[in-house]
Structure formats: C-alpha cells, structure tokens
C-alpha cells in the first residue's frame, strides 16, 4: 500500500469540513468546561452540606464514568425521556460537563495556592467576600492554573473524535465515511492525525503566549 497524493487531495476538502466541526466543538465545550468548572468550585463554598454533597457527588460521578457512556446516554437515552438535543449540542454539552469536572480540580488547586495572608489582607482592607474573590483570590488562583488548563484544552481536542460515535461529522467522522466510500483509509486517517497534531501545536503556542503575557504584565 503506497501513498496516493491525488486521493489525499480529494479527501482534504471533506476533512476541512470536519475540521471546522472539531474546532467549534473544542472551543465551545472548553468554554463551557472553564465556566462550569469554576461554578462547581464556587458552589462548594456555599455553606450548605446538601449543596456540597450534591456537587461533589456529581463531580465524582462524571469523572468516574466513561465519556462515551455519558455521550450515549445524552444522545440515545434522553430522547426516551422526551429530551431531544441535536447531536452537536449533546457532544458539546457532554464534553463540556466532563471536562468541567477536571478543570474544577485545577481551579481548586489554584485557589488553595493563594496564601491565607491574602485573605486576611483583603479583610483588613474591609473588602466584601465577593470583592475578595473577584479582585484578590481569583486573579491569583487562575494564573498558575493556566498552563494546566492549556493541557486540558489539548486533551479535550484530542478526545473530540469520540463525537463521531454519536453521528457528529467531525474530522474523524468525515475521514471514516470518506474511507468507507472508497475502501481506502490510509490517506484520510493519516491526514486527520497530521491535522490534529497541527492544531494541537497551534493551541499550545496560543496558550503559551497568553500565559507569558499574563506573567509579565507591561
């Protein structure tokens, strides 16, 4: 089996369509994960045992069950309960919630890393609880979280092919269908690998640059 450049060129526009879906799914689910992850951490601060147990419980449940099972549940089981979501919506929601559970751990570590003296100094300056979170704690907690979040962004990107299992035509879905059509997988699947590697590197460069800008404020 040898590489067929003409066939690879034919596959490219099809993969480009899938690439678009991959990027949209990655960006939107990561944004959801970033916000939801923070909300999880903040919800745990609510001085109510019920809320805390509920949040912790769901978090463990999400981390403890495979993403594939969660996606199948969202896409194939929820319709029986009269909840029908479009496939891409299910995918973004599933990925977002799954990674929120991981990002909440990252945030938690960042917040724990803010020294107690910062909280005390904020109180001595008579800041309210909300002001302390917004102006003092979160800015300091998020900065060290950033490189780890970058890693999770790339992990999430690499996990998007799973979306093809619930009929979403992401890059992998398109490559698979294209291969099925021509009984030839070498070129489309290799190209998918190269494309993943490229956007992964691009994402790493972007997060690295943003982090450097954050670390050396002008």
């Amino acid at each position: 089996m040898s590489w067929d450049s003409h066939y690879a060129l034919l596959a490219l526009p099809v993969l480009a369509r899938g690439l678009w879906i991959t990027i949209v799914a990655t960006v939107l689910s990561f944004a959801l994960a970033a916000v939801l992850g923070l909300l999880i951490v903040l919800a745990e601060m609510i001085p109510s045992r019920t809320v805390r147990t509920l949040v912790r419980g769901s978090e463990h449940f999400i981390r403890g069950t495979p993403l594939l099972v969660q996606l199948f549940f969202l896409y194939y089981v929820l319709p029986y309960l009269d909840v029908t979501l479009p496939a891409l919506g299910c995918g973004i929601f599933g990925l977002g919630v799954h990674y929120a559970a991981y990002l909440s751990q990252v945030y938690r570590a960042g917040i724990a890393g803010v020294p107690p003296l910062q909280w005390e100094a904020a109180r001595a300056c008579n800041l309210t609880r909300t002001q302390t979170w917004v102006h003092i704690v979160l800015p300091q907690a998020l900065k060290p979280s950033f490189p780890v979040m970058g890693n999770y962004l790339i992990a999430l990107l690499k996990e998007t092919p799973i979306l093809s299992s619930i009929t979403i035509m992401d890059m992998m879905g398109e490559a698979n269908t294209f291969g099925d059509l021509h009984y030839r997988y070498l070129e489309p699947v290799t190209l998918v690998g190269i494309l993943f590697l490229s956007i992964g590197l691009l994402a790493r460069w972007v997060t690295g640059t943003v982090y450097r800008l954050l670390s050396n404020p002008v």
Partner: protein, 256 residues
C-alpha cells in the same frame, strides 16, 4: 469619656494552650499603645481579634461602642457581616509579612481598596496614593509590582495602603520582624512620623524595645495571655514592678 476600644474578659485557647486569659483592656481614642512581651503571650492575637480575623472562646470586644461579638449557644460569634463591615472600616492593619497583593502594582494596591470601600473616586484615590507614597519616600515605585521591592519598601507600601482607608485604629503586628536589620530603620522612621502627625489610635506589637519607648504613650507587657504591666513607657521600662517584666527587659537589653 468612653474608651474607643473596650476589651472585657477575653479568653482564647488553642487546644490546651491558653493564648488569652480573661483579659480586659480599655484604650481611649488617640492613644499610641505598644504591646511587648515574649512570643506566644497573646499580643498578636489581640490585634487579630480586633481585625476580626480570629474567633474567641469568651468575652466581648467593642470598638467605638459597637460590639464585635454576639452571644450564641456555642459561645461568642462575630456579629453578622452586615454589621461587622462598618466596624471593620474603622480598623486597619499592617502585617508582619506585608500581605501586599502581588498581582497589583504598588499604586493599585493602595487605590483598589479605597475604590472598593467607596471612600474615594478613582482620581481622588490615585491622588491619595501618590501623596502617601511620597510620604513613604516611594513615589518612584508606584508602577512597580511588589516582587520588585525590598522588604522595607513593601512594608512602607502596606502602611500606605492601610492609611489610605483612614481608619480610626491602626494595628501594627511586628511590622519590622521580617525585615533585614538594615531595613528596619526606614520602616520605624515612617511609623514614628505617622504616629506624631495623626490622632489615630495605634496598637503596635514589637520586639524593638527602644522604638516602643519612643513611639508609645502607653506600654503593655504581656505574659501567658495576661497583661502583667501597664503604664507609661518610662515607668514600664525604667521601674518595672512585675518580676516577669524585669526579667524580660533585662534579657532583651542584652540582645541589643
């Protein structure tokens, strides 16, 4: 006249060790008080309670006639945050390890608390910050981040930040203990200047005995959570009555 700070029957323990032992103390407005004594004798804890940073086991504290604690079934608890904030607004604190906000510039460290407390508009707050930095001899550091400053400079910024909120009571918790010996004087000079030029009530915990003497109009000697000597600096330093004070002063003068 009613004292500005009134502490009555205050007790606090960590496990089996007693930090404050049924301590009572009144401080009139404008007084400059130095708290001295061995480590672990409760001096810092008093400051932390006044700053609402520390729970207590029993007793009551009033600042400007307002109570800090409510009596509950499980002992005294700080009054609701809504009532506590106006009391806390009257108190400022300078910490041993500075507690500057590392993600903000020197100027922003002083400006932000003013704005969040609505004591000044943004331009007023910045003018106030520059004025105070000037007083601290740090006008050229306004745009720097705290990690670029020496310990002495950090502490002067922390003093400026606390002063900017114009509290009635200033608490200084060993403000020079974490400093390089060569940097101690620059902070003490600033403290002295501030003490001489305001009518703020000041409580200073320190191990700098000669400074305590110059700074204070009243010296309290703490031992095992009690005040064992209370008087004007000359009396406490020259003619201490309690044997524990005598021993402590003899030892600390050997160190100097």
């Amino acid at each position: 006249m009613q004292p500005l700070i009134r502490i009555a029957g205050l007790s606090k323990s960590y496990g089996s060790s007693r930090i404050l032992d049924n301590l009572s103390l009144d401080i009139p407005a404008g007084q400059k008080v130095a708290l001295i004594g061995p480590s672990g004798s409760g001096k810092t804890t008093i400051l932390r309670i006044l700053m609402t940073l520390e729970s207590i086991d029993s007793g009551q504290v009033e600042i400007g006639g307002a109570r800090l604690f409510d009596e509950t079934a499980t002992g005294p608890a700080y009054v609701a945050e809504r009532r506590l904030r106006p009391i806390r607004a009257q108190v400022g604190m300078v910490f041993q390890h500075f507690g500057l906000f590392p993600h903000l510039t020197v100027e922003r460290n002083i400006v932000l608390p003013q704005i969040l407390n609505r004591v000044a508009s943004e331009p007023e707050a910045r003018r106030k910050a520059m004025e105070l930095l000037d007083l601290m001899g740090l006008a050229d550091k306004a745009a720097h981040y705290p990690d670029r400053l020496s310990g002495g400079q950090k502490q002067r910024v922390a003093i400026a930040r606390a002063l900017a909120l114009q509290p009635r009571v200033m608490l200084f918790d060993e403000p020079t203990s974490a400093l390089d010996p060569l940097r101690v004087n620059e902070v003490l000079q600033v403290l002295h200047a501030v003490a001489r030029t305001t009518d703020m009530t000041m409580l200073l915990v320190t191990h700098e005995m000669s400074f305590a003497r110059n700074f204070a109009d009243r010296v309290l000697f703490f031992d095992h959570g009690r005040i064992v000597e209370d008087g004007p600096p000359d009396a406490v330093f020259d003619t201490p009555r309690d044997p524990r004070t005598q021993a402590f002063l003899r030892l600390s003068s050997q160190g100097e």
